[in-house]
Amino acid sequence: MLLTISTTYSPATDLGYLLHKHPARMQSFALAFGQAHVFYPEACTEKCTAALLLDIDSIGLVRRPHGQFAENFALAQYVSDRPYVASSFLSVAIARVFSSALSGKCKDRPQLTETEMPLEARLSILPCRGGEKLLRRLFEPLGYTVDAEQHTLDTQFPDWGQSRYFTVTLKNTCRLSELLTHLYILMPVLDDEKHYWVGEAEIEKLSKHGKDWLTAHPEQESIVRRYLKHQRRLTREALAQLREEDVQETAETVQAQEEEQLEGGIGLNEIRLTTVTETLKQSGARRVLDLGCGEGKLLRKLLAEKQFEEIVGMDVSHHGLKIAQERLNYDRLPEKQKERLHLFQGSLGYRDKRLTGYDAAAVIEVIEHLDVSRLSAFERVLFEFACPQTVVLTTPNVEYNVKFENPHAGNFRHKDHRFEWTRDEFQSWATRITKRFGYTVVFHPIGPEDENVGPPTQMAVFTRES
């Protein structure tokens, strides 16, 4: 990865003082992840260019001590673009190699650091998630003239499209420390990635290097969010610090905003969950199953109802269950509450004796994630073997899709949906179930019902014939 910084300041070679690197020599520095070289491709009084060449050890990057590999170690990590692009690695290198220039110090020529001079930075490859638009929105408010050239993925396969890489030239008349600081913060922001753990320390870096310019930056929020790897708590804290607000206040504002959103237009999901909870309550069920509980939104509602003495959440995704456990604060629930709730991994394709003996089961927005060929196994697992008294099942009504603002032509509402049914299709499926397994069924609309295309979600409530 190559970063060059040029100036036409007179004398241009003063750049050497500012960077604290002699223009006549090449210097190398050892870093944790490789080496950095500094040299000057040109150095005369009219124009001086310094180059920081970062040499990341691509093999060392993926090697772990004792030949251990992390669990999710995948192919992605060793055929990696990291050695070739401007990223958090380059930020770290700038901080190490140009530390005094970054913090605006210069022993020999202190007055130089305060001097605004014409500067030009060139990044051979800068990955921009968000494209040229974001690149400009980040640098132009800071006074830069941006010149960017985007690269195609592979010239032999033009249909693969454009890459996210740009060769970027940034021109501005400013202090060198400002240029370095902007690069230091904004390169990883554009890349939207960090090679190290992001924690509290990152907030400090942000406020140390960004306090002068970030407070007024129109993209402040997205810069902070991306810099902190989209961690909500950190982002909130950092924004508060930048705005010199009290954190307490911020938290309240956020809550208020959430409430406002809620009241402004109750989301479909919320209506769905409330309807399902009400239906389960009316069925008289005391011990209930939430099959495909996901991250536990329905479980939370069920827990709030005293009527339910035992609540089981099952999902095929172990990761999802972990999130549900966190969201429900499972570890900190009072003993009595904890006893009511059970979470375990399971699959609707397998008969499971843990599911027998319950009063009711909720199967909310689940079946459309199953391949049609595996529905028959699901039907038997639920209606023949688990056979609860009541089954509450919801699925999208595909007819309603025309009402959405951005309809994906021919697509489903979610990438993982294997099918979406019309009301007729759903009802004939459900009726078949009742005949085969001895249930009765009633259908209910969920959400605003349209005269022609019906409601966005359709619900079937099955009751076992005793």
Partner: protein, 854 residues
């Protein structure tokens, strides 16, 4: 004294402290068979004599005892056991696990026990303790028989008697595991003598009538008949059947288990008050004219029959009404009852017949269970069990199962001798054949989740760890194709040992050395295509897919990836591909040659870009683009600096090499990509013919596979089926190896991924077990895709050489063994859960953390 104890059984040693129990136990039993209360006290308290720890110690002892009983192990309880309260929970435990109990009592003089205790430094009992124990023992002696030690109670009253005692273990009556057959297992006869004789003839038995009117049976070729009981009632010739069966048992030509009708007859014959319904009246009438002596013989014969048998090293169980796994080979009233009547809910159905619990649906035992009792129209395998009562007396047929062949032979009934209470066709449990098959096809979460141990034929037991089943369940449930199609997944493959050849990581020499070292003299090399692994199943017609794979819809087969996902999102392309293969099969006449309606191949499907499109766009192409631009700029800058006289020469040279390496990398991946507009742009290279109906091909060598598949490819239009280049290498001949190496160098230089080297035989067992079924040897340029563009730089290569292969190789063997097992189970028509268990195992093993570059 000879102490005979049943094996297995629960043996209680009974006697006061110091009466010699432990010494005796260690003389006659294995240390692991003895559970000592003192030892358990020590386990929980560090002090074997700590009486305060007694309750905890016994909890531990009972826990271990329960585990041993569940596993069917002989277990000896070394504790005083002198109190009835101490014995009670142990006897209850034995009941729970259907175990026989035996008691060995040490009724020694109190003085002797006292002296022995005093001689032991760790026993500081007061004299009254032993005295009390002695009294308790004496009180117990009277009741021991009633408590549950009726048949196996041994009392020794002198040290001499103890010394002279000899323990003999008797296998249980049900244990005939040393009988290996082959067997002809025959269903419910119910007095249908003529049909029985016809069936035996059909099975190859020679039957002749003796001058004295007796029938003489000569079994065919060392075979033995096994009768599942219900010889009597309802049918016309009860006497003749009994005479024949008794004769066969006497001459060891047959093994018999009793049926519920037989047991009832015994009671009637012995004058008990029995309701003469369900055909008993007819039996009694037929026996009327027989002599009292013969009737007594009949009663003795039937009464002496053992509830069920475990045969052929535990692989076969025969019982009249079936036998659950946990009751097999056990002895108790409950076991006998299950064998005779099965399990009922206590309710009766609309025909007044008891409603049966279907134990076979739940059956997951390793043994095959053959039974009768409830007439069915056609025998049907359900989870390794089969009911062969085809209702001969009701006008059905009399059926035999040949074992181990698992062939069914039957003769039709001459007439309906008895009207069934409900129509035969709706038997049993109102289920049709299709529904039976469906029960088979339901998978149970207990079949896959948690730690699992799978026994394979090639590579012992394979353990699947619980943490690996968790991701596998998600993958199978969310992304994999219908489990009914998943009859095989290919194993991972290890590369060769790392070579020391300059500039290379892999070279054929190491593969040759590996196989030579393991005693293989010829190997095959096959071109390794750079595409994506695909398993393809093709059926002759959609009906075959429905019938054999039990899948709905109109489909000819499937094409799925090595992780069980459907290969094509676009089903139209899949259908075209399958049709194409079917056409080639038709043309080659392979349906007929292999006598099959379906076929399963292991293949590579090209181009790589079909399946790896996302990977290419997200990973490979971006690296190529960014590296190309970045390195070019770096070289240009360094050059400018060098022109200024700055000393950057060494770095410049390094960056030039790196830029070149990247050019090689881009070229490498580009070769494996091309546009796919239709099925004609694909290339499918089959390299293993895995299975056809009833057969797997792991016993055929790789030349056979290559030639057979090569012929198939010749019958494919537009070369869609693509024959793989291959050659044979003689590992004892240097020129042969040199030639193979030359070819490898030539091919990989032209962009080939490399070769796979396999021993000529598909499966090779070396001195220390299974050896690698294949190793890959990848080319220098190709490996840039794997190890990164710049891996060839000397400083990188040196470090990469330290890769470790052992985990990968062990994984390869385990997955191979599981894959073979899965297919073998499928062609042997084992239930879906047994096939699925292996496939699921492979997927779970794939989540073990291993360097993915290997």
């Amino acid at each position: 004294m000879i102490i005979r104890i049943p094996n297995p059984s629960l043996v209680l040693l009974i006697g006061p402290s110091g009466s010699g129990k432990s010494t005796f136990a260690h003389k006659h039993f294995k240390p692991t068979e003895i559970l000592s209360s003192d030892f358990c006290r020590g386990l929980v308290s560090d002090d074997e004599t700590d009486q305060a720890a007694t309750n905890d110690a016994f909890e531990v002892l009972h826990f271990i005892a329960a585990k041993r009983l569940a596993a069917g192990k002989l277990t000896v309880i070394d504790a005083t056991n002198v109190q009835v309260e101490a014995r009670k929970p142990l006897i209850a435990l034995a009941r729970e696990y259907h175990y026989l109990t035996a008691a060995i009592v040490f009724n020694m003089p109190a003085k002797l026990c006292q002296e022995r205790n005093e001689a032991r430094p760790d026993r500081n009992f007061k004299p009254h303790v032993v005295r009390q124990q002695n009294q308790q023992l004496r009180r117990s002696l009277r009741n021991l028989k009633r408590e549950g030690f009726r048949n196996f109670l041994y009392v020794m009253s002198t040290p001499e008697a103890v010394d002279a005692a000899h323990v003999e273990r008797q296998p249980l009556w049900t244990n005939r595991t040393d009988e290996h057959g082959p067997f002809d297992i025959i269903g419910d006869i119910h007095g249908c003598f003529d049909e029985l004789v016809e069936l035996l003839k059909a099975l190859g038995y020679v039957i002749s009538t003796q001058p004295d009117g007796n029938t003489l049976i000569e079994p065919s070729h060392g075979r033995k008949a096994v009768f599942v009981g219900d010889f009597v009632d309802r049918g016309p010739k009860v006497t003749e059947v009994l005479r024949l069966v008794m004769q066969m048992q006497k001459t060891d030509a047959a093994i018999c288990v009793p049926g519920n009708h037989d047991v009832k007859l015994v009671r009637a014959l012995r004058g008990k008050n029995v309701k003469r319904t369900h055909g008993l009246a007819e039996s009694m009438a037929q026996l009327e004219k027989e002599s009292t002596e013969f009737k007594t013989q009949i009663a003795e014969f039937l009464d002496g029959l053992v509830s069920h048998y475990v045969l052929d090293d535990g692989k076969l169980v025969v019982a009249h009404a079936g036998m659950k796994a946990e009751l097999q080979g056990r002895a108790s009233g409950r076991v006998r009852e299950f064998a005779l009547y099965g399990e009922t809910t206590g309710e009766t159905d609309e025909f007044g017949l008891p409603v049966r619990l279907n134990w076979a649906d739940e059956y997951r035992g390793p043994a095959t269970v053959v039974y009768g009792h409830t007439p069915v129209a056609e025998p049907q395998w359900v989870n390794r069990t089969i009911n062969i009562d085809t209702g001969c007396v009701f006008g059905g047929k009399l059926t035999a199962l040949r074992y181990p062949e698992k062939e069914l032979v039957s003769v039709p009934a001459h007439q309906t001798y008895y009207q069934p209470a409900k129509p035969l066709l709706s038997e049993p449990d109102k289920r049709s054949d299709l529904e039976t098959q469906q029960t088979d096809s339901i998978l149970d979460i207990d079949d896959v989740l948690g730690k699992r141990v799978i026994r394979t034929r090639l590579h012992h037991n394979v353990t699947i760890r619980e943490e690996n089943t968790i991701p596998a369940l998600e993958v199978i449930s969310r992304f994999a194709v219908d489990p009914k199609w998943l009859i095989y997944l290919p194993p991972t493959m290890s590369p060769t040992e790392t070579t020391s050849n300059p500039g290379l990581l892999e070279h054929p020499t190491e593969a040759f050395t590996y196989y030579r070292k393991h005693g293989v003299s010829s190997v095959v090399w096959e071109e390794k295509h750079m595409g994506s692994r695909a398993v393809v199943i093709v059926c002759r017609d959609p009906e075959t897919a429905k019938r054999r794979f039990d899948v709905a819809g109109d489909t000819l087969g499937i094409c799925y990836t090595r992780t069980g996902r459907r290969f094509f999102d676009d089903t139209a392309i899949e259908t075209e591909l399958l049709k194409h293969i079917k056409a080639a099969m038709d043309k080659a006449g392979y349906w007929k040659i292999f006598n099959t309606d379906w076929i399963c191949f292991d293949c590579e499907l090209m181009p790589w870009s079909v399946k790896a499109q996302e990977l290419l766009r997200q990973q490979y192409a971006p690296v190529g683009t960014s590296a190309r631009v970045a390195l070019a700029e770096a070289v240009a800058s360094l050059k400018t600096a060098a022109e200024r006289g700055i000393d950057v020469q060494s770095i410049l040279e390094d960056y030039r090499q790196r830029a070149e390496a990247v050019t090689g990398y881009v070229k490498a991946y580009q070769q494996y990509c091309w546009q796919v507009q239709s099925v004609a742009d694909l290339k499918l290279a089959p390299f293993h013919l895995l299975a056809t109906e009833g057969t797997v091909y792991f016993d055929k060598n790789h030349l056979w596979h290559m030639e057979t598949l090569g012929k198939l490819c010749q019958n494919s239009e537009h070369n869609l089926l693509f024959a793989t280049a291959y050659g044979i290498v003689d590992l004892t001949d240097d020129t042969s190896q040199t030639e193979a190496i030359r070819l490898w160098e030539e091919r990989t230089a032209q962009g080939s991924e490399g070769v796979v080297i396999k021993p000529l035989d598909f499966v090779v067992q070396g001195k220390r077990g299974l050896i690698q079924p294949a190793v890959k040897c990848r080319g220098r340029e190709y490996l840039r895709i794997i190890y990164g563009p710049e891996y060839t730089l000397p400083q990188n290569l040196e470090r990469l050489r330290t890769r470790g292969l052992s985990h990968k190789r062990s994984l390869a063997l385990r997955e191979f063994a599981l894959g073979v097992k899965a297919l073998e189970r499928f062609v042997q028509r084992e239930p879906l859960s047994h096939v699925h268990e292996c496939v699921f195992g492979i997927l779970a093993l794939e989540s073990e953390a291993v360097d993915p570059r290997l």
